[in-house]
């Protein structure tokens, strides 16, 4: 983030509705500093383009305040505003075959008095802008004769030729091939840094947003859902909550920036917020990866126990943005790790133990379950019937397991059943032992099949 904290765009308590009934923009507050590159993300219909249209003066009848360089937007006239804010729209079509140079020159209208036409200087600026977007060879061609990607680059050149201090980009690279996506974004990023131009960009490609943005604002249902550094905002949990997309987040080894990979197993909606739980998963040795995956998919917020840094489950947990206690040493020996693990248990609603093989190394994870039961947390063991087969402590773990069952821990046959159990769980009757899972219920069985597939 830039050190300069002079707000260029300041939005306060912004509300907007198209039909006076539902608010498209529902109370938004944010600031953008000079020279900053802010990525505006959110699902379709979240209100991103509406927000842009308000800031660029297309929709003047909003509630709240928008200031540009400390000046009220409503008090600016068209020309004044166009001299400060430039916009790159999603796409622009023309019904008449203007030459591309003439299209670019249209952004010079706001620089001139009403009756003055463009001069040599304007041509020079327009051509330079076209050189930046690699469209100068198209200058004499008609706008209707070029491809969609070329049109987008011509419009970007048009916005650059407008020479504004603020540039709003509405999916500037949606029509571009991968080469131009990178080239255009790098060019925009470069002119932003060189000329101290403030940029706010709407992106659907989270990786482009993460790569170039100093800051990300994530919008959902007309409100700001999260705001901060790309790595803080673009977490699998946030993305699942806002987009209902299953992703894993990794670090790009070349740029040290995060990148997001969607994965496509069956697509299901996250549960309603009141059904989503904070679940602490006892995992290890690869036993948790599948459980993580299917729980995250339903929108639950997960944490996990102490895991060795070389464990497969550690890798999965990091990619899915699951909070965990990482240990580089012998797990059982670390007092601090145990304490951290217990903290995570305290914060959770439910503790679930996967098909973990328990040995001396991870025995403390099982011990922590005892703590959970003392805190009156619900505890479930996946495939508890076969617990003995996974006991490599010489009976110590099995003994503890029996004790835990007595204290109120419950057994559940498979991971899928646990997921379905959470889905169908009626919150009003959660706190006693009478819950049983009807395994013979055909519907649940079919649902379970669907999850497995």
């Amino acid at each position: 983030m830039t050190i300069n904290t002079n707000p260029v765009i300041e939005v306060k308590n912004l509300y907007y509705s198209y039909n006076n009934q539902t608010n498209i923009i529902n109370g938004i507050n944010f600031k953008v500093n000079e020279g900053e590159f802010v990525g505006l993300l959110g699902p379709n219909g979240a209100g991103k383009t509406t927000l842009f249209n308000i800031i660029s003066g297309i929709l003047p009848f909003y509630k709240g305040s928008v200031s540009i360089f400390n000046k009220n937007l409503k008090k600016m006239n068209y020309k004044e505003r166009a001299n400060i804010i430039g916009v790159v729209p999603q796409e622009s079509t023309s019904n008449f075959n203007f030459k591309n140079i003439d299209i670019v020159l249209m952004s010079r209208i706001c620089k001139k008095p009403q009756f003055a036409n463009e001069d040599q200087n304007d041509y020079k600026i327009a051509l330079n802008a076209m050189k930046l977007t690699k469209t100068d060879h198209l200058a004499k061609k008609g706008y209707m004769e070029i491809s969609g990607g070329e049109k987008q680059r011509v419009i970007i050149a048009q916005a650059i030729a407008q020479e504004t201090k603020i540039l709003l980009l509405d999916e500037p690279t949606s029509n571009l091939d991968i080469n131009f996506q990178i080239e255009i974004m790098q060019m925009i990023s470069k002119i932003s840094k060189n000329s101290n131009i403030t940029i706010v960009g709407i992106f659907h490609d989270m990786n482009i947003a993460a790569q170039y943005s100093d800051r990300i604002i994530l919008i959902s249902d007309g409100k700001i859902f999260a705001e901060g550094l790309p790595s803080e905002v673009l977490t699998p949990y946030n993305i699942k909550s806002v987009y209902n997309a299953n992703v894993i987040v990794e670090k790009n080894p070349f740029t040290n920036k995060i990148f997001i990979i969607p994965y496509y197993n069956d697509h299901c909606l996250p549960l309603s917020p009141e059904k989503r739980k904070k679940i602490h998963v006892i995992a290890g040795g690869g036993s948790g990866s599948y459980l993580f995956n299917i729980l995250v998919r339903d929108g639950h917020k997960l944490s996990t126990c102490i895991l060795s840094s070389i464990d497969t489950d550690t890798r999965t947990a990091l990619r899915l943005g699951i909070e965990m206690v990482k240990s580089d040493h012998h797990i059982a020996l670390e007092e601090e790790s145990i304490r951290k693990n217990e903290d995570l248990i305290c914060k959770s609603d439910i503790v679930v133990v996967g098909r973990v093989l328990f040995g001396e190394i991870n025995y403390s994870n099982l011990e922590s379950v005892k703590k959970a039961l003392k805190l009156k947390k619900e505890v479930y063991f996946i495939d508890g019937k076969n617990f003995k087969k996974r006991d490599f402590t010489g009976g110590k773990a099995s003994q503890l397991y029996t004790e835990l069952l007595k204290m109120g821990a419950k057994e559940i046959e498979t991971e899928e059943e646990f997921v379905l159990f959470l889905r169908n769980k009626d919150i009003s009757v959660t706190n006693n032992n009478k819950e049983t899972i009807n395994l013979n219920n055909n519907k649940i069985f079919l649902d379970a099949q669907a999850i497995i597939n």
Binding site: I58, F96, N97, Q162
Partner: protein, 370 residues
Amino acid sequence: MTNSVIDFSSKKLKKVTKIKEFKNINSKIIYYTIIAFVILFLLILVASSIGAAKVPLNETFKLTLNGIPLIKNFIDISNISSTNKTIIQNIRLPRVFLSVLVGMALSGVGVMYQGLFRNPMADPYIIGVSSGASLAASLAILMGFSKGIGSISSIVAAAFAGALLSSFLVFNLARNRKGYINILQLILSGIAVGALLNAGTSFIMILSNKEQLQAVVFWMMGSFTSSLWIKVKVIGPIIILGLSGLFFYTKDLNAITLGEVRAKQLGINVEYMKNMIIILCSLVVAAAVSVTGIIGFVGLVVPHMLRIIVGPDNRVLLPVSAIGGGIVLLVADTLARNIAEPREIPVGIITALIGAPFFIYLLKKAKNNY
């Protein structure tokens, strides 16, 4: 190996474009306008010498040039017979000028509406001007108002008022509470109001007797018979001033090609511009339609044709199309009064007869050029 291929292609692709290659817009406007104007001037001389009464060519030239203030002093018309003088100066010249003015009005407004509606199919009558004028004119014919206001006939005055009223109605129907005009609503309101007013006109035609019916039909076909200087003097300033006013908005109108939203982003006061263009256009069309009735296709075909020659830039297209429309209607009217001598054909029939096939030809030929 691969490198050399890349270098080769990039050299070929990167044709450096230089500023000098682009024509200055101001000189382009002047260049095309002067060419169009010279053609118009020559055609005025020719058209005024063609007609039923045979007037020698040199006499026509002299009489026509005599009308121009500065050149007047150098032209000697003393030895021309007074009959010829009357034919040229009081019958043909007002008619020539009237047809030129109306042609200018129709295709000038055609350019503006096509640009504003982002649709090359828009014509000057699109927002219901013609139906308002027709209703009012036929009402005036039915009522048999013979006396006019001053020396303008009542039909002309009624048609002008009707045209303005109907476009005012459509204009207001398309405006929302915030004063913004929705173009789609404007077109649809134009269609609705047009249908309503046309029904009124049809009803009046049923009520009228044979003579009145003929007069109404003849008026609606459009014609320049009974052209008088007074008509030129009244509608001339409206059309010329209206078109000059419209010229100031042509630069902003160019940006509308990318859509109203984009034009606003580029700093154009779109709502104000729309209001001004529609008001000025309505005035200009009302003036044209009031003196000649409805003349189709000029406002549609001429801007099309010229867009292919001069390009879509409205700053060039408006003056060139206006003059071009004057030329086309002048030629059409000269044909109308001469091909079926001594009978006269309504000029609207000529423009449609020539315009429609030509329009189809243009559509087939230049699919991507508008």
